[in-house]
């Protein structure tokens, strides 16, 4: 009975996932009032409110998503690329063998099957691909790329298709090479904590595997149920654990990748120290599939912390959140594993879309979520208690709660992690992912809100395209997510936002893309964060590895 009772208990509140011992974050449609679906499906499907106003519902008809080639009429199909023919498809079919490895829209109409590979998670970008290939081995990837390179067929490497800058879907008729069938864990060394795995392993699967071995994947993000570790490396994803475990540039020890000419670059090192020449794997970390396809990675994974605590605060001003962050660093130091910022609007939206009760009574302009992870519960609790008392007594925070059990931990996290998904509820989101000096981070949100208000683009009814301007993000990493949820994508809104936002960021010496990358969304704006000479060097590297330019064209720079 223990199991069924536990299950029933889980039904009472939001949900839980018994497989992962710490903070598994799934939003299952468990109770009636939990309105959005598991991240697994929702992140890979375009979603639109259905008539019951729930986020789940049937995926929006793909037709509703505008073709990228229409949104960006300036981008022309590269005339040097060949057009796919029946013979090409036959070649791939022979090469890959199994029927399911080739989604063929060349010899027949397969638009419905191909659509999920053609359009992105935000419903913002849509390509015209007619062919999807799903190789099962590095060797197959090598043969595919060689053939494509020889025949000047352009390709798009694709992982979980959760990328937020349009990098993972084609613009024209590029072949989608999806890594989902390369999903094996190759090895794990329990002493060193080094994991070697195929690029197509889903992040959550990798993390659950590691949980069994008391280790943790040093990266965590809201799309964990869908995104692949190869995609994470290709985008150099930052996520929720960066504050504690650092970036993939440090944690990835080795990479196996295939270059466009079919060369298998075997740099799958499992050494922590290896000073023997240029560190080429770094080019693939954040390379967004522009110079090769990552097929395997080796990564250093830390020991999983048995003691996790989560607290959630309401604060009166942005100044107070900075004060709280400083105190948290000072008093919690080595056990602080996340410090997340959410503005009041973002929390109201989660509350509105999911129907979940707000963790705190009363309204606060800002909210913060703090997580500690350590090896000793008593030690951590003592520190945390002292910290909490300090911030309460000194009026740094107005109110707060401390999760008393695992379910509350997940519920509190869902108010941070659910934001992304809930913002899409009304149709679309303009997303900016920026690095800024912490002190000025939130000024941008206010400035943009003023700007859109003045332009009469924000409002409560359908005549206004935008609903609100929202700021949240990884405060611990000085990373702001500026989001504008909209009822429809609208050029007028875009005009107000760009290049305004980028200029704003440039003038503060920030980065126009802290973690989501360049893709197609930021390609034109790279100059705001990189100098001409840097861009020139990057182009030289691209030319060296991909002389025919077949890898993920029209993007990056």
């Amino acid at each position: 009975m223990a199991t069924s009772c536990r299950f029933a208990a889980s039904l009472r509140r939001a949900s839980l996932n018994a497989r992962a011992p710490t903070r598994p974050r799934r939003f299952q449609p468990a109770a009636v009032h939990v309105r959005w679906t598991g991240s697994t499906s929702a992140t890979s499907e375009p979603h639109q409110p259905d008539d019951k106003e729930t986020v789940k519902g049937a995926p929006a008809p793909a037709k509703a998503i505008t073709f990228t080639s229409d949104t960006y009429p300036d981008i022309q199909r590269e005339p040097g690329f060949s057009k796919l023919t029946q013979e090409h498809v036959e070649h791939f079919r022979e090469l890959l063998g199994t029927e399911s490895a080739v989604v063929d829209g060349v010899s027949k109409d397969a638009s419905e099957d191909i659509e999920p590979f053609n359009s992105d998670w935000m419903r913002k970008y849509r390509g015209h691909a007619k062919l999807v290939l799903k190789p099962q081995s590095t060797e197959e990837v090598s043969q595919i790329l060689k053939f494509c390179n020889d025949n000047k067929l352009a390709v798009v490497p694709q992982g979980g298709n959760t990328g937020l800058v349009g990098g993972s879907v084609p613009v024209f008729d590029e072949i989608v090479i999806n890594l989902q069938k390369m999903d094996k864990i190759r090895s794990f060394d329990e002493v060193s904590g080094i994991l070697v795995a195929d690029a197509g392993v889903i992040l959550e699967v990798a993390d659950n595997f590691l949980a069994e071995k008391n280790h943790i994947f040093p990266l965590d993000l809201g799309a964990k149920g869908s995104c692949q570790i190869g995609g994470n490396v290709a985008t150099n994803a930052g996520g929720l654990r960066l504050l504690r475990y650092g970036s993939l540039h440090g944690n990835v020890l080795g990479i196996e990748a295939v270059l466009p000419d079919g060369t298998i670059l075997d740099d799958l090192s499992t050494l922590r120290k290896n000073n023997t020449g240029y560190d080429l794997k770094q080019l693939f970390i954040g390379g967004e599939g522009t110079i090769g396809i990552i097929t395997g990675i080796s990564i250093l994974t830390p020991q999983r912390s048995p003691a996790i605590n989560v607290a959630y605060f309401g604060l009166a001003s942005y100044e107070k959140t900075q004060q709280a962050f400083r105190e948290a660093k000072g008093q919690l130091s080595e056990i602080l594993s996340a410090f997340e910022l959410m503005d009041g609007n973002s929390q109201h939206i989660v509350n509105k879309v999911t129907g979940k009760k707000m963790p705190l009574e009363g309204d606060h302009p800002f909210y913060c979520l703090i997580e500690t992870s350590g090896s000793n519960t008593d030690h951590d609790s003592e520190k945390l208690q002292a910290f909490l008392e300090h911030v309460m007594e000194n009026d740094i925070v107005e109110d707060g709660v401390l999760a008393q059990d695992q379910t509350q931990i997940q519920e509190l996290w869902s108010f941070r992690e659910g934001i992304s998904e809930c913002l899409g509820h009304w149709g679309g989101v303009y997303k900016y992912d920026l690095s800024l000096p912490i002190a000025q981070m939130y000024d941008l949100v206010n400035d943009v809100r003023d700007r859109l208000t003045k332009a009469k683009l924000i409002g409560d009814d359908d005549s206004y395209p935008a609903l609100d301007v929202i700021g949240y993000g990884h405060m611990g990493d000085a990373n702001l997510h500026l989001n504008i949820p909209v009822r429809r994508y609208d050029k007028k809104v875009e005009k107000e936002l760009e290049p305004y936002v980028y200029e704003w960021v440039q003038s503060r010496k920030g980065s126009i893309s802290a973690e989501h990358g360049l893709g197609i969304a930021k390609k034109a704006y790279i100059g705001y964060s990189k100098s001409d000479s840097m861009i020139k060097l990057m182009k030289q590297i691209k030319g060296l590895y991909d002389p025919n330019g077949i890898m993920n064209p029209y993007k990056y720079m």
Partner: protein, 254 residues
């Protein structure tokens, strides 16, 4: 009637989001370095007691009690942070954990000492799933009982309890004193807020032993063996519909 004197027993159990593991000797579930928290049904009991008070029903006192190892005091502090006025910790070693009848006998004594007139218990604790304590307590005290409450209302000394039964709901009414056990849909427990966590630290927590209640409670039951359910057999992935039909035929399902 002067007011409600509510007693709420709470138990420290393995957190219900944690997958329990059987120990090597197959005598029990592994409890060391596993996250523990309050039995979820007991959270409902505390919440309900606090809500009765918030509904302006005259509640004189809410006392939380837990019998268990020293760590049970953490759970009592949580109960007090949620709104209980005081806690009673009865020290019981983990290896001497009480059986439902033992708990019921202890609670009967505490009820006398505290002059409680309403006991709100969880319908079961998720570690043993015995689901007996409330009923036994009502028996020992000779009080009315309403189990698995999904709604509780109090008017004067009359208590009305709605309970979900197969295919519908049943409404019971009885006069105080009374025993009520809680079910999932009774309420949604609150978070422990920081100010209340701090206040809870200053609330009284009495430390007792079984002997203080003149009790000596031996075990009547012996756990013979604890085993995990058989592992789920791994599934297979098929490539396409034909593959699936083939597989189903192979398994004799078609």
């Amino acid at each position: 009637m002067s007011g409600l004197r509510i007693l709420v027993p709470v138990k420290r159990v393995i957190d219900y989001a944690v997958k329990p593991r059987v120990n090597r000797t197959q005598t029990a579930v592994e409890t060391s370095s596993v996250k523990h928290s309050m039995n979820p049904f007991d959270e409902l009991s505390i919440e309900e007691a606090v809500r009765l008070r918030e509904r302006k029903i005259p509640v004189e006192s809410i006392t939380a009690i837990s019998a268990g190892p020293p760590k049970a005091q953490d759970i009592l502090r949580t109960a007090m942070a949620m709104g209980a006025d005081k806690g009673i910790h009865v020290a019981v070693d983990e290896q001497d954990a009480l059986e439902p009848l033992g708990v019921a006998k202890l609670l009967a004594k505490v009820v006398q000492g505290e002059k409680s007139n309403l006991v709100i218990l969880g319908k079961q604790s998720i570690d043993d799933d015995a689901g007996q304590t409330g009923q036994m307590l009502a028996g020992l005290l000779g009080w009315a009982q309403a189990t698995q409450a999904s709604k509780v209302s109090v008017e004067g000394d009359s208590v009305t309890v709605v309970r979900e039964v197969d295919g519908g709901v049943e409404t019971l009414r009885a006069a105080l004193p009374m025993v009520v056990t809680t079910d999932l849909r009774l309420n949604e427990p609150r978070y422990a807020s920081l100010p209340n966590i701090m206040k809870a630290k200053k609330k009284p927590l009495e430390k007792k032993k079984l002997a203080d209640y003149g009790l000596e409670l031996g075990a009547r039951l012996k756990t013979v063996r604890v085993t995990e359910p058989p592992p789920r057999k791994g599934g297979v992935k098929v490539d396409d519909v034909d593959g699936m039909i083939g597989k189903l035929k192979e398994l004799g399902a078609l």
